[in-house]
Structures are given as C-alpha cells and as structure tokens.
C-alpha cells in the first residue's frame, strides 16, 4: 500500500545572513500509513514546524524527498497539495474580516472545488461546528476556539485525505482546546483521515495518536507506537492514596509487612494533603499485606490503582538520554580534536 506520507532523507539547512548554517532538520525518514494518526513531538526548535512546512511544500528541503499519497511534493506540487489540508502554527490561517461561510467557500474554491458540492460540504461542516446560525458573522467576532474550528474546517473543506495540524490548541483556553481535541478525534475515528499532529500537550498526543515521532535538534530520536514507548518506562506498581500525612517509616514498623519482599521497595510521597504509597505489583499477597498495614495506621484509604507511565515521562526520559548521548559523543570528539592539535603542535 502506498504510504500517505513518505519522507526520505529529508534535511533542511537554513543559511542565515551571518553565513552560519543552521541545521533545522537532519536526515529525517518517516513513513505514515493511510488513516494513521501520528504525533510529531519535540521541544521548541526541534524542527517540527519546518518538517510540517516541508511536507506542505512551503519550505524547500535542502535534501531528500516528501511524497503525499505517492505524489512528490517538489515535482508534482499541484497534485501533491491536493492531498493535504493544514492548520499551521501560531497564525490565524483564515480571514477574520470575512464570515465563516465566506472563508469556507473561498478556501474550497482555492483548492479548485466549486458548485453545489462545495456549498453542501461547507454547510455540513458549519452545521457540525454548530456555527450554521452564525455563518454570516465575521470570524473576528467569534471566540478563539471557534476561530480555530473554522480554520480546521477550512483545511477540510476540499476533503483532503491528509490533515496536518501544527499546534492546533496553542493559545486556546481549556474549553476551546477540548473542543478542538474532540474534532481531531472525530477526524481520526470517523473520517479516516491521516493526521499529523504536532503539540506540546503530550496528554493529547497520548490520547489521540497511535504512534509518535520525537525530534530533537532536527533529528528523529524515537519513532514508535505509543504502547511501545510507554513500555520503556512501564514499572509495574500499585499506588495507594491515603488521606493525611503518612511518615516515611510508618509502614516499616508493621511486623507483618516487614516479612514481605516489598518491605524495602515501598516509597511514600505526599500530594495535596494526601499520602501516596507506591509498591511493586509483583505479588498480590504483598499488596494485601500492605493494605492491612495501612489499615493499622488508622488512616482512610482513598484509592488503590495500578500506576501507568505517561508519555510525558517517556518524552523527558528520551530527551535526557539523547542529550547525555550527544554530550558523551561530543566529549569523545573533543579529546580527539585536542589530541590532533597537540600532535600538530608537537610536530611543529
């Protein structure tokens, strides 16, 4: 099957006026299947937006290729751009002085759509957005969340199979962000769109994406299904939440618990007037012993749950590992360079 997006050896080097080249994206390879929802994650300056713009053909790569449903973006631009709809980062993307209806018709016709089919689609999108009654009002009068929904609708008006969403919830309040998130879910679940999502909201990526690609300094440092990434930090643990402050040694005093293998693996943290006791989930028996020990303290048990790693933890872990690896590699290079310099000096 032809991938929806095929990225091969994609690199981008910006040449600044000072003449110093800046590597924005380096040797990126990524293949995205039709209907897949993929998160492109990374810190600011990691190269996510440049990658999205190269996929759109808005930035010319220094090397490498991007193909959208088999159409090369550089060589078959006209057909390739028909495969995508995009909401780009930090900008309005639509005309605030025009109404939602005018925006949808304009962007539909800009993509070559016309006639009653376009109007029906625009009507359907505005109805789903619950904006049909306000379709003739200028977009500038809408809330920020509504404006962003209109921007997403404009990206979808020509019904492209691929949707690129660069920080679609940036600057939105909680309610607006939730509305946009629901829409992205709708795109993925019911419309079969291939969605590339860049976001700093890792909980959103964890919830919506099947796979994430993590970038750091223009390089892809991880590209795995979410479940595989979570497995990296999956540490089978139970967490018991208890009301009140439980001292660190409170449970060690329990003679019953002292006999169990988890006795030395317990940790107690405190959060907002609660104490959280974490213990390895290796033995059900040990868990019951722990529950008894907690009961003996006389404190109220609030909840018992299995701790799951978060994508955020994995993200931080991967970034730190890559940073350390880079530092180590740099450290190895430095003595080598120093060594050469010394050799040269000695030779001189």
């Amino acid at each position: 099957m032809t991938p929806a997006i095929e990225i091969q050896n994609l690199s981008k080097i910006y040449r600044k006026r000072s003449g110093i080249p800046t590597k924005a994206v380096e040797q990126l390879n990524l293949s995205i299947a039709p209907g897949e929802v993929i998160g492109l994650l990374g810190a600011n300056g990691a190269g996510k937006t440049t990658t999205i713009k190269m996929i759109c053909g808005l930035v010319e790569p220094t090397a490498g290729h991007v193909a959208l449903n088999g159409y090369d973006v550089a060589r078959q631009r006209s057909i390739a751009v028909q495969q995508i709809g995009a909401v780009l980062e930090g900008t309005r993307n639509i005309y605030w002085r025009l109404s939602a209806w005018q925006n949808l018709l304009y962007f539909g016709r800009l993509k070559g759509q016309r006639g009653s089919a376009l109007k029906q689609r625009a009507q359907a999108l505005l109805s789903e957005l619950e904006l049909w009654d306000r379709r003739h009002e200028p977009v500038r009068d809408f809330s920020r969340g509504m404006q962003q929904k209109v921007a997403i609708a404009c990206a979808l008006v020509a019904d492209p199979p691929i949707v690129l969403l660069d920080e679609p919830t940036l600057g939105l309040d909680v309610q607006a962000a939730r509305t946009v998130k629901e829409w992205i879910r709708e795109l993925a679940l019911h419309r079969g769109k291939t969605v590339v999502l860049t976001t700093h909201q890792l909980d959103m990526a964890q919830e919506l994406c099947q796979r994430v690609a993590i970038m750091r300094q223009g390089r892809l440092i991880a590209e795995e299904p979410i479940s595989t990434l979570l497995d990296l930090l999956r540490n089978e643990q139970y967490e018991l939440r208890v009301e009140g402050h439980l001292p660190q040694d409170a449970l060690q005093l329990s003679p019953q618990l002292a006999q169990t293998p988890i006795a030395n693996a317990l940790t107690i943290t405190h959060d907002n007037g609660h104490s959280i006791v974490s213990c390895p989930a290796s033995s059900q028996e040990a868990l019951y012993d722990l529950l008894s020990a907690v009961q003996q303290t006389g404190m109220s048990l609030i909840s018992v749950q299995r701790a799951e790693p978060k994508l955020e933890d994995v993200f931080v872990h991967l970034m730190e590992s890559d940073l350390m690896e880079s530092a180590r590699a740099e450290g190895e290079k430095r003595p080598a360079r120093l060594g050469k310099n010394t050799e040269r000096k000695e030779a001189a």
Partner: protein, 297 residues
Amino acid sequence: MSTLTPESASAAKSIDVLAAAPSERTAPAAPVQVGIGAWPGILLNETHKGLLLSWSYKFNLLTMMLTMGFIFIGIVFFMGRGDLDRAAIPSALLGYLMWFYALTAISNMSWDLREEAQTGTLEQRYLSPAPTGLIQLGRSFSNLITTTIIVGLFTLVLVLLLGVELPLRLAAIPVFILTMMGLYGFGFLIGGATLIFKQVESLANLVQNMLLFLNGAFLPVDRLPTWLAVIAYTLPTTQGIIVMRKVVLEGESLLAVWADGSLVWLLLHSVVYFVVGWVVFDFCERKARRDGLLGQY
C-alpha cells in the same frame, strides 16, 4: 494514571479504535483531481475575496477617495497659481488618475502580501494547486476593480462640480489595459521584494513619488532634462499617459498612435514590465521557499 472516570473511559474507547489497524477504520475518499481547467475559477475566487476584503474596509475606501480629491484640487490650484485653469484640468486629471492607479497597484501589492504573511493566510494560498502568481493576479484584478470604482466616482464628482469634460472613447480601453499590464507587472516586482524583505514601504513610497513627479501627469516629460526624461520614459504609466492623452483628449485613432510609434513603445514597455515582474516574483517566491520566509514577518 488509570483512574476510571467517564471522560477517560470515553478516551480509552477512542484509543481502542485508534489502535485498530488504519485499514479497519473508515477510508477517506480520494480527492477530486483539479487540473488547469480550474485555474480561471481560482483566479476569479481570489478577485472575489479581494473585493470582499476591500468592502470590509469601507471607511478606508471613503477616506482614500476624499484624500484623492483634495490632493488633486490642491495641485490644480497650485498649477494655476491660485486660479482654476479649466482648460488644463482634463490633461492633468488623466495623468493624475493614472498615477492613482499606480499608487494603489504598488501599495496594495506590498500591503496585501505583508498582511497575508502576518496572518498566515499567505501560506494557505500556497496550498492551492494553481500557481501563486495566478492567484496574485486575481488579487490584482480586485484591486483594479476597486480603484476603478473610486476613480469613476471621483471623476463623476469633478465632472459635475467643475464641469470638466473628459471624452469617453472606446479606443482608450486597449491603451488602458496595456498601461495596467505594465503597471501590475511593476507591482509584481514590488510584491516579490515584499516576500523577501517584508518591509518595502520606503521603496514603494520612492516609486510612487517618482511616478507623481516624473510620469508626465502634471509636467510634460519632454520638458525634463534629457537624463531625467530617460528615467521618466522607463517608468510605468509614463508612456500610457502619453498615448492616453493622444487618444482621449486629441481624438487620435489607435492606428495613428500605432503609426507614430507611441503605441508600439507602450506595448513593448508593458510586455517587458509584465514579464520581468512575473519572473522576479517567481524568483523571489522560490527564494522565500528556500529560506523559509513565506510565513515569516
């Protein structure tokens, strides 16, 4: 955490569906392929949008018309040293109108591109299957229509208030089209510069002022020193004003202006400006893509 709330239950269900193989989910319909046949529609769409945006700045249009009127009346009184020389008005008016077209063509081209880059709609325009130059041409048409409406109303007011006679001749239409072709070609040069340098107001102002004083609107070009006249003849609108005056005010036919070479020179001048403008715009657009400048402001 795996604490189960109704919301997370819904999310978990969603993840289940998302985790399903992509092929198991609803397949998207292939997009309708858009070919060259759609380009005229895309061009008109841009013109329509430009008109809608211009109309949303109604107050600005009215102010522009008033400014245009006051400047012209001031210049006419200045030329007549405090008196209104009615005989000189038609010639000056024709030149002034052409300068006004130049003013709006040049300033709007840079203003529109800059504003669209700021709001991110410029990048969205680049996601169209049609060439961007064509879309920009559509925007120029809307500018031409808006300016023509302003110019038409302004001229009508002058005709009614001052009794100015400005003959309407069909032969003026091809001359006008050729002049505008060169002018908008020049506008594309400025537009290309806007894509790269963003702030090009000072360049646009320089050109607009040069045009006002050198394009023969108020002072015949043949009265300028030779070196300055050479510069004046190369500017857009200069040759258009010369031919327009011959055709509209002196009643010469197109054949006559062709025979005396002035129309030939206008044709050549306009074609060169249009082609050079288009090529420069295309070059700047490529450079903007290469340097990642399209969405930057």
